[in-house]
Symmetry: C2
Subunit: 244 residues, 2 copies
């Protein structure tokens, strides 16, 4: 597992609980913390180094870093079975195609919370949640099976989607709500003392890590833009209906 | 209490629990149901009829009906102490001023839920929530004190605001979120199978009664429009930041 933040850390904890060996790749301080929490059975300096010993490599770093790690694997371990947990699928799937990495299968567990980093990690995070896989026609079936076993081992429900369909859907059910939460918090600044539980629920996501989100929104820019346009149209229509 | 829907019904239940007498005014079927639930000690055919026997009249019908009931009181019981629970304060406060009803004080308990009608009523609904009062310079102080006692009797926290400030704030923390919930549900239609808990929280309000909301949004149209504009500006700014 390369990247032991919220998702990678939760995955490592859940895999250990299911009896699997887990090699961690991250900064030394994070590895120490993850090891102390019982999330790891080993560590490696580089993702290529870990790949030689692993049945499956999971790229769980921020979106832009995952692209770089995939390029590193194309040089250091081109035969490895690899999946990832990036929230946007087309950029990394296209890169894998260009690098001819038949052992790569795109993945995205639909689970999260506001508290990022290993500090927010939770072995139960994936329980009952959809785990999307985006195999292509040319993907090695053994890699797909390995990614499916991974998802099921941590309690998730495997869903296959085309990468483009995935990106369209998450733009609407995940990326748009994130922008909306920030914008609602802005628009209500100074009036929150009168806010009720519904408002607080609707702005809960505003606490999510902005740096990570900038990468996600950037990688899915076209679909997010289309989602924002559809949303603003619907918003104005509902506003007009209110005024009769 | 005129109107035994979610708010009026919850109020009647909470007042009874606090040992007060409650006269209900509503359609016969609603009165029967409220009576069976122990929310009432008496009923009246008209709000003016109830006013003669009551220390304080609470208008808890839909926003447009409350305006009509206030006009009825101006004729049938102009000396009554009256408050209301309408989500928009300027229209009813202006009407009271025009009708020279010094016994009227505008009110708005900041509490609610999606399930409307007496079926959703809950004696705990106001517990710890802000209850906004909007007395004017000319309002009878005895009416203000009566409204304050009412709010405190059901566990709410009294907050005084100017009607215009109230309407500006609720446009942003309540009316805008309602429009946003509808628009988010529209924009994500067909993709909800991948939605997580955050999306479900953010669209929970979409189940609120549309007829009631049309009246609220209509009565607060100018502030809601300003809130939507500020929100859309913020949304686009966050979207651009995502694309760097």
């Amino acid at each position: 597992v390369a990247g032991l933040g919220l998702i990678g850390g939760s995955l490592a904890l859940a895999l250990r609980r299911a009896g699997h060996q887990v090699i961690g790749v991250d900064r030394a301080a994070v590895l120490r913390r993850a090891r102390a929490a019982g999330a790891l059975t080993g560590t490696a300096r580089t993702v290529s180094g870990a790949a030689t010993a692993a049945d499956l490599v999971v790229l769980a770093a921020p979106p832009d870093v995952n692209l770089r790690l995939l390029e590193e694997l194309a040089v250091g371990a081109p035969e490895a079975r690899v999946t990832d947990v990036t929230s946007v699928k087309q950029p990394i799937v296209r890169l894998a195609r260009r690098l001819r990495l038949r052992g790569f299968v795109g993945g995205h567990p639909m689970a999260g919370r506001e508290q990022g980093g290993f500090g927010g990690a939770d072995a139960q995070l994936f329980q009952g949640r959809p785990w999307i896989l985006t195999p292509e026609r040319t993907t090695d079936p053994a890699a797909v099976r390995a990614a499916e076993r991974l998802a099921r081992a941590v309690g998730a429900r495997v869903v296959h989607r085309k990468a483009a369909e995935h990106d369209r859907a998450v733009a609407r059910v995940s990326h748009l709500p994130q922008l909306v939460a920030w914008a609602l918090a802005d628009a209500a600044a100074g009036h929150q003392d009168l806010a009720g539980p519904a408002y607080r629920e609707m702005t809960r996501l505003a606490a999510s890590p902005p740096g990570l989100w900038a990468q996600i929104l950037d990688q899915n820019a076209a679909e997010v833009e289309a989602a924002v346009r559809a949303f603003v149209r619907a918003l104005r229509a509902h506003g007009r209906r209110g005024r009769r």
